[in-house]
Each structure stands twice: as structure tokens, then as C-alpha cells.
Amino acid sequence: MTWVGKSLQRKEDGRLIRGQGLFADDEHSDSMLHLYILRSPYAHARIASIDVSAAQALPGVACVLTGSDIKEQCVPYMQLGPAPCDKIVDLPLATDKVIFQGEPVAAVAADSAAIAMDAGLLIEVEYEMLDAVVDPEEALEDKILLHEAAATNRTYHDVFEYGEVDKAFSDAAHVVKINRLHFHRFASTPVENNACTAEWNQRGDLDFLCNNSFAGFSMQLLAPSLRLPVEKLRIRSYDIGGSFGVKIWNYVYMALAALASRKCGGRKVKWSETRTEHLQGSGHGNERTFLDTEVALDKDGVITAIKSRHIDDCGAYPRYEPLGCIIWAQVLPATYGVRNFRIDFTQTVTNKCPVVPNRGYSRMQHLWFMERIVDICAHELAIPADEMRLKNYIREFPYETPNGCIYDSGNYPAMLEKAKQMIDWDGWKQKQIEAREQGRLLGIGIGTTLDSGTNNFGQAQIMNPNLPFSGNSEVCIICLDLDGSVVVSLGTGPSGQGHETTTSQVVADELNIDPSMITVRTGFDSAWNAFSGHSGTYASQFAVSGLSAVYGACQKLKAQMRQLAGFMLKADAAELEFGVGEEGPQLSVKGTDKSINYWFMSNLVNSNNALLDDSLADVTLNVRHVYRPPFEVPDTEKKFGNLTLTYAAQLHIAVVEIDTDTCRPNILAYAAIDDCGKVINPQIVNGQVAGGTAHGIGAVLMESFDYDEVGNLLTATFSDYCPLTVMNMPDVQYGSIETPSPFSYNGAKGMGEGGGAPLHTLSAAIQDALYAEGIIVTDSHHSAPRVFERLRAPNREATVSVESRRVGAQ
């Protein structure tokens, strides 16, 4: 029986459908303290004074933290960016001034959450208002500075140039110029908010139960900030209620629970963020503006070069940034064969919530930009959308991009063909003609995108050559426990991706046993489970990094088991067979009734070892394997190298009709084709595809973090931000193709982020619906009010120009 490739029902479900999951907020005891965080109502203000006396005096309050405690007790979080980022001071609480609405300014620990909040509201903070800057271009003028010590708001600037850009432009038959495109600010907002309990005991050990989703990395930033050796820090998570990347950076605030615990003599402190706190102060996706884009095309519509100026807005603190200024380059040419690029990339801080790596992180923004270019060029040159893609798709794999990334495999034309059939492309084209005759605004759009998985952390050195990160890893420990049961631990800390299940599938195949015979420990635990500095669930890395670690550990365990069984059964390793006998999992000698079960093997190693001889000294039946993908540090000067191991692809087609009364875009049909190489568990993969699709649709139609000009977040509750509900989710037809990756042991590709496909697709469909109205789709958000505004102000002439010349005329 082979388990890999089957839709095995998930192991995780048993506890979750009974309400027996253990989420970070579930830990509760009457003796624990509760933390309330007082946050700034202003986007930019100096803190003139804080008076906590009334709060401190309230019965039930255990301690209050303000900026002055934090200044004494914390080292600012390490900044990843190059100078002047090193001058940026990022601490869990604002000290002298606040730079975004929702920034913590004080924290209270009390016997109950209600008392903590009462006390928090008794804290008197005197603010001196400062002008705020929310527009990234204005921020780059440096008239209003967020981090004065850095003397600029600019956190990154560099030019990514490949090929012969100027030559390509002088040879071009057409040059299409697009003056501005904008990718809006949104986030995947998991239903579970950030939460943790922290206990910093008198011995100096700090224990967190939390929902951080990249704990291997977070520990390396959190421990030094709290002046702790990593060994003193224990981070645990069990079930995590969704992350989508957003929970990578919650440790910034977890520190407050820890400091409160220490200040209160080691009592356990719980912090549970409210939704409004989450939306104002947790993390948003990167907002990006694309300026002065010029596209060179040959006479057939093949794109030969692109130059453009990109401004990324990372909010008030860079945190994971400016990594996003490099990560997009994993997909520099998107799915197209363009060889010449000049991208001038700048990032700035603004008085808005900091950004975090949200599902599709940084690549999605760039892929949307590329798709907009392809789509706008197709319209301007009157080339049908599907033909335009077919002219430009990469077709040969492995494919080296202009910046040295290796696309492992793919077949974009086949995906397009499949999607067209699925949605009935020709039928809709016909209906579109009829609809237009009736004055209806109906459009059909294609979005092709990539989900690059298992990234090379060496790309961080392109941004800052001093950063001590490169490569990638994941770790698995597999052992036969004292009773012979197979126990696996991982560092991934998943948030719904079913790692316990897929890991069991791989191990079951390797040991030729049933998945139910395998225990995969839930969650992350730095004291109890395996982990490395890359461990976590992010950047589509489990199917390759995670499962390669599992597979490698299985090989090591099996070698030891063969050695031990061979010795006991007096047989050659080659004669041994893994399987299940009457006494459970066992090794047996082929064609005989000689066997040894797992219990006895474990017994021999752990409790009964006088039966063994020296040749078995290294047999522990408890092995650790670190998977290390074959990466090199990129050439940081040329910004050249392989930045990611695998490239899953998505191709979506949507049919959209804009309601002419309400301006609401209605999705009439939607097809989604996915290629993530070899599939380990189809049901889980389909679930990820559907989830990623929903996020994209939500972002296009409903979800946007809108700020007013002084930095108030106008969509700071779910009722304003309006995440996609079941009533707004269209029926989607799903399909797949499979181009196995040559770079992973199992042919799988990392997946789960979805590359923001609906953003590209729906933007293209809306473009198709509105092009005849003189409208160019320049934004990624298309709620009814936005479409209304756009319809009132056609922008084509002001946005796009085309210069065409006869090739060979000169």
C-alpha cells in the first residue's frame, strides 16, 4: 500500500472537530495574570508624559510597563536592513514617540483581563501631535521623519539590472508606457488573533505557549532582545488558528508578556490580542507602487524588456523588511521569457502599521505587476489575452531566469488550455459579444502566477551582505520510543496545513506500515521537538524542505533498524523486509517466518543492551536529519543566483460582470488550475488552493486597509475590513496538471501561497470589462466604491501611451 498521493483523512481533525485543539489563548488558570496593551490613538506623536499611578493603584493590578522599563530591559530588535536601518530602534513599546496608530505605549498585567483593561484606561498619556506621512512618495521626500536617527525614511534602494535593457528598447517595435500601478494594502487576517502565555521564572527560564509561525527564526531575534541565551528560551505552540505569514512577527509583542511576568515575580502572564488591535497593530501585507514603467515589445507582441521604478511601503518599522525588496526577485520575469530588466527598487517607512510576510509575500506584488503589464500591452496592441500569454510564456525547463533563478519545471500553455476548456472560453467570448451589445460590462481575464517554495536565505545577503543567513533547512527527528512506537518530531509548527498527516504518509511508505501507527508531535517546541534556525511554516516550504527532512530521517532510521535486525535475525540487510506482522510493525527475513518487532528492537537498544555487540554501538533508533537544499550564496554584486528551489504555478481565468447600477464586480465563472508537481495528499493540496483563491478574491473585492491622511486606519474592525464570507465566495472550478520537480526527492513543489492568482485574474477580467470605457486597471482593489470612482474618471489617456515604429525602418 502506498500512502503518498492519497487523500488520507487528516490526523489533526480528531481533536479539532471535538473542540479539543490547544490554541494559544486556551491556556487558562485562575492564578495567571492578563495583559492589556495600551495603544496609541495617533499615527505620529511625541509622548510628553505618561502617568501610571492611577492604574497601578487599582486593586488587582500586578504591574505596569512603560517605555522606560523597556529601554532598561530590552535591546532593540536586530534590524535586517543595511545602513541606515541599523539606526532604527524597534522595541516592544514606544519609548519617546509613536509612529503608527495602534503602537503599544504601555502594558498592564492584572488578575483578570477586565481589570487590566480598566487599569489601562486609567493611564494618562500626554501626546504632542506630529504631522504624519502615509503616502510613500511623500515619505521619500523626508520632510517628515519617522526614525530621526536614521535621518531618512528610505530603508532600501538599489537597481536590479539584467541583460541589455537600452538595446532592447532601441530595437523595440513597440514601447508601452504605464505611469502608475498600485498594489493595495491588505492581509490574510487569520481568525485566531495573536496570543501567548509567558512565564519567566526566578531561575531565569522563559517559557512561551504561543502561536508564532516561524519560531526557529523568531527565537534568534527575541532571545538577544531580552538578553537571554537561546537555551533559556522555550517556545511552544500546539494548534495555530491560521497564520498565512502574519504570525511570524508576533514575538515583538510576546516580549511584553515575558517582561510583565518577570516584573511580577515569575507569574504566568497571558496576552490575547483583540481583533482591532490585530488590524491596527499586528501586520499588513506589503503595499507597492510601480512608477514610470516602460515595456519594450517586438512586432509580434513578445516582450523584450521592462524598466520600472518600484516603491514598497513597509509601514512604521521594517521588521522582516527590507527582505521584501529582494524576495520579489525570486520571480523576476514571472512566467515570461523576458531577458532584459531594469528595476529601480526603493522602500520607505510610513506612519502605518508595519508589514509582515503575508501569503504570497512580495512575489505576489511583483507577479501582479507583471500580469498587469502583459495584460495592458495585450489590450493596447489589440492582441487577444490568451495569445499574448502564449507568445510570452517560458516553455523550456529547467529555465534560468536573467537573475540566475532556476525554474524547475512547468507547462503554462497546458494550464491555459485546460483552464480555457474548463471555463468554456469560446462560449464566454460569444456571450461577451452579446453582453456588450446590450451595454453590459462583461470581461474575461487570465492570471498566470508562481508560488516559489523552499527559498534560499542567501538572498538576504543581496540586501545586506553582513546578514548571517543563507541556504534553507528543516529538521526531523524520528525514533522508536521505549515501547517501540514510531514518534516523529518536526520544527515546522503548522497552522492548518496538515503536517501530522502528510508526514505520516511519507513515514508509512518508508516503513511499510499504516499511518495510524505513527505519532507526529503537534506543533513547535524548542525543548521537546526538532528544529533549526530556518524552522517554521512559511514560504511554501513544507512539501520539499519538511518532507525531505522526514524522508532523510527515515533512511537513517531504516539503516539502523536493518543493522540491528540483521544482527538479531542473523540475516543480510538485503534479505530484510519492512512490514507489519502479528505483533505489529516489524522487520522480517524474506521468505521465512523469522522477524523482529519494533518493541523488541527498541527494548534491545534502550533497556536490554547486553545482548548487543560493539558493531551496534552507533545504533540508537533515534535519529535526526537536517535537510539542506543545494543552494549557494548568490553573487551579491550582480544580484544573481538561485533564490528558490521549486516553482509551483497557478493559472486562473475569471469572467466578471460589473453591475452598472451598483458598480459591484460579480464573478460569473471562475476556473483555477494548479501545478505543484507531485501531490502528497490531494485533499490537503486542494484545500490550500481553495484557501489561497479565497484570500485573493477577498483582497480584490472587499479587503483593504484604508488610512486617512493623518494615519487613522479606517478599516480597523472586521465589520469595516470585511473579510470574505461564504456569501461572497463564488463557485470555483478546480483542476490541476502535474509537472514533477526534478529538484525534490519526491517530485513535489512547495505550495500553499497561491501566488495571489485572483488578484491578477480579476484585475485582468475587470480590465477587459472596462477597457472600452477608456479605463486602465491600475490598482489591485476593486470594491464597488473604487469601481464607481474609476468609471466616473476614465484614465486611459493619462495612464498609458504606446510608441510604435516599423522595425527595420531605421
Binding site: 483523512q9 481533525d13 471535538r18 487558562h28 487569520p190 494548534d239 479565497a694 473579510p723 464570507t725 461564504v726
Partner: protein, 170 residues
Amino acid sequence: MNDRILITVTVNGAPHEREVEPRLLLVQFIREELGLTGTHIGCDTSYCGACTVLLNDLPIKSCTMLAVQADGYEVRTVEGLEKDGKLHAVQDAFSEHHALQCGYCTPGMLMSACHLLETNARPTDLEIRKSIQGNLCRCTGYSNIIKAIASAADKIQEVSGQEVAGGNPV
């Protein structure tokens, strides 16, 4: 604020008598006083439905009700769905159809679905959607949840059909 009020709330069939602060939310009562942490909290504007429970058989958002308002009522939570070691049909269906990923929305979804199936034996697709329109799921994209609820409805029909055929009293 500290004048506590004595209330009795029956949760999953068992009466619980407690003195609570008037401002305590029902969801906090369920999670913190009774330790039933299957009911979750996801927002502060009654939007997400992670806190959905049944109050005298009607689905409510337990973050939007005070514990004292539930005095004398019967509450059902996800922990009460399994009976005598047997999962509710909708629980089975959620797992079978991969209608959960992180599982955070799941208890609320299950309670909304449970109410639907108790009041509408043959729901249409739209009726299923409407039954969970107040429950946010960020992981699944909803389609598997719709499938799971439809399949649970079929299962329940099948089983009750068999019971009728077997001559059980209806």
C-alpha cells in the same frame, strides 16, 4: 463592578451555578469559568462567528451576549456534539470533506451547521451558505464546508430513513 450575580446556565446538559461579574461575556464564561475552550474568539464586532453556540437551540454569537443574560438558558457547545463516543454526523462530514484546516473556525461552523440540520432536513446550497454567513473561515475558501454540511444532511436522512424502515418509533 464587583457585585457578582448568581446565575445558572445549563451547558451541554449539565447545570452550572456561578457568581459572575455582570460584564462577563457568555463566551468568557464558557471558556474561562467552565474551561470549555472549544468555543473560540476571533473578533470584537460580532463578525467572525468563532464563538457561535446554541442557546435554547438557536445559534448565537456568545461574544455578543453577557453571561448573566444566559441565566436559566440551555447552551450547547462543540464539546456536546459527540454523544456516547459517537461523533455527530456533521463532525464526521467536516473531517471527511476536509472542511477544516487550522480548525479555529470549526466549532462555530459546526454549531451553525448543527442548527441548520435540526431545522431543515434538506437544505439547498443557498440555505447552507446562509446558515454559515456569520461564520468566517480564513483557511478553506468555504466550498468544502458547504459540501460537508450537505453530506451530513444526506447522512442524517439516510439514518433516519433506516430507523423508520426498521420500525423504530418516530
